[in-house]
């Protein structure tokens, strides 16, 4: 519990600093709203129901997009990780696609899929895909050859070998990839919502800028930080629980 409070030290100091520079007029309130204004805006947006709509729209997009991206990454990652031939065929293309900056996808996806939910979910899926894919394949490639020899000595079939040795041994890589993938999903969500949407936290951001409401922008930023932190902590908890067997600093008592 004490460790948890330590993590709150910096945010509280920042809040105090923020309050001070707005309260003493060092920064103009049309540029940076005060904490009180932001809190008031938060309550107002919550009360009239817009916030619930924006938040749920964003969360739904992230979850759907992440699920799709992650599932595809697992499926392709297994094949590429286990087969040299598949790696030579598929991996160079995926690495080239990965090099494209996230925003560059937006016009193309909008052109193809319109401005509906499909476009946003697709973008989020692209964002989630690569961290999961890369870390999973790396996890498979890093499996100790000596363990595979044990499977060979006992005459395991390729499928059994993959299921009973390779996949469990590669699970740390997969879980790290999923955690980073979730963070990346939020990133791509905002990119999608900033450009074409009528609700969502990204929309709240963009609208706040258009109508010059720094308090609304800050509400959106704070909620994004909160959502990102919650998903990251949840993924970390899952990782910690499922990787208790690993003998590393991460799981040290």
């Amino acid at each position: 519990m004490r460790k948890f409070w330590l993590g709150l030290l910096v945010p509280l100091a920042l809040l105090a600093f923020w309050w001070a520079i707005t309260a003493f007029g060092i920064v103009k309130t049309y540029q940076l709203a005060s904490p009180v204004q932001v809190a008031r805006e938060l309550v107002a947006l919550f009360a009239d129901g817009t916030l619930a709509g924006d938040l749920s729209a964003s969360i739904l997009r992230v979850i759907c997009g992440f699920a799709i991206g992650c599932a595809l990454a697992c499926a392709i990652g297994v094949v590429v990780g286990l087969s040299r031939t598949a790696e030579r065929i598929i991996d160079p293309t995926l690495q080239a696609i990965r090099a494209v900056p996230s925003l560059a996808w937006v016009p193309l996806i909008l052109l193809w899929l319109g401005i509906g939910e499909e476009a946003k979910i697709t973008l989020v899926a692209i964002g989630a895909f690569f961290p999961v894919y890369i870390n999973f394949v790396a996890g498979i490639h890093n499996v100790d050859r000596k363990l595979l020899e044990v499977a060979d000595v006992f005459g395991l079939s390729p499928v059994q070998r993959a299921r009973r040795v390779v996949l469990p041994a590669a699970s740390p890589g997969l879980l790290v990839g999923m955690r980073i993938g979730f963070t990346q999903a939020w990133l791509f969500l905002v990119a999608a919502e900033l450009i074409a949407s009528t609700k969502g936290l990204g929309y709240l951001l963009m609208q706040g800028q258009q109508i010059t409401r720094p308090d609304q922008i800050l509400v959106a930023i704070l909620l994004l930080a909160l959502c990102g932190k919650i998903t990251e902590s949840a993924m970390r908890a899952i990782e910690h629980r499922s990787l208790r067997w690993t003998d590393t600093l991460r799981t040290a008592p």
């Binding site: 363990l147 020899e149 044990v150 469990p168």
Partner: protein, 233 residues
């Protein structure tokens, strides 16, 4: 037929011939030590017998099911002791044997432990139990106790000897430890040279200095006998 029979086995890695035209055998119920200095190719012989390396020429036969214990325990970190021992089990009878084997190696109290919670000696005992799950007739052991401290190693050697005798197993143990070979083996094959060949064959109760001399030690009396010093405590 012998439990293990090797005739004219050759193996090279690129230009380097590890051994050529190597022949040896292990009789039923016999425990044979393949003794040689580090890097002489004795592990490669064992890897060929286990099917992990392909010999370039020659013929070998290992009778029936064989179990193998590596130099490192090679346990699966995500499985507990029971899961690791049960890893190789295919049939209900083999699975039913797991508990008994854990007891045999004296780890009943650690059944639920994960490999990271085990000491080196305990982990190697799990590996030994795992190698016995399919009820093999032959055991192949690759310096199984090299990474274990001297006192623990002595215990493990006694345990291995007892298991091999109780189950009438045939075994080939690769080792660089003269005293291990002398204590465990019914017969010692001294491997050496480049490419490696069997230089001498010694029976149980052979003189220690004779074995050391066969290994190529010019001053055998200077090699301390750790087992003797442990036993005299």
């Amino acid at each position: 037929m012998k439990a293990i029979e090797v005739r004219g086995l050759s193996k090279a890695f690129g230009e380097h011939t590890v051994f050529s035209k190597l022949s040896l055998h292990v009789g039923h119920g016999e425990l044979v030590a393949l003794l040689g200095p580090s890097g002489c190719g004795k592990t490669t012989v064992l890897r060929c017998l286990a099917g992990l390396a392909k010999p370039d020429a020659g013929w070998f036969n290992v009778k029936g099911e064989s179990g193998i214990v590596f130099q490192e325990p090679r346990l699966f970190g995500w499985l507990d002791v029971r899961g690791n021992v049960a890893f190789a089990a295919r049939t209900p009878e083999e699975r039913a044997r797991v508990g008994e084997l854990i007891e045999l190696v004296g780890l009943s109290a650690a059944t639920e432990k994960l490999p990271k919670e085990l000491s080196g000696g305990m982990a190697q005992r799990v590996a030994l139990a795992r190698s016995l799950v399919r009820n093999p007739q032959v055991l192949l052991l690759d310096e199984p106790f090299a990474a274990v401290d001297a006192l623990r190693r002595y215990e493990l050697q006694r345990q291995l000897r007892a298991i091999v005798e109780a189950r009438a197993l045939s075994a080939l143990i690769v080792t660089h430890d003269v005293d291990e070979a002398l204590f465990l083996a019914d017969r010692i094959l001294v491997l050496g040279g480049e490419p490696a060949s069997i230089r001498t064959e010694l029976q149980q109760g052979a003189d220690r200095n004779e074995v050391l001399a066969a290994l190529g030690s010019a001053t055998p009396e200077l090699v301390p006998d750790r087992r003797a010093s442990l036993e005299s405590r």
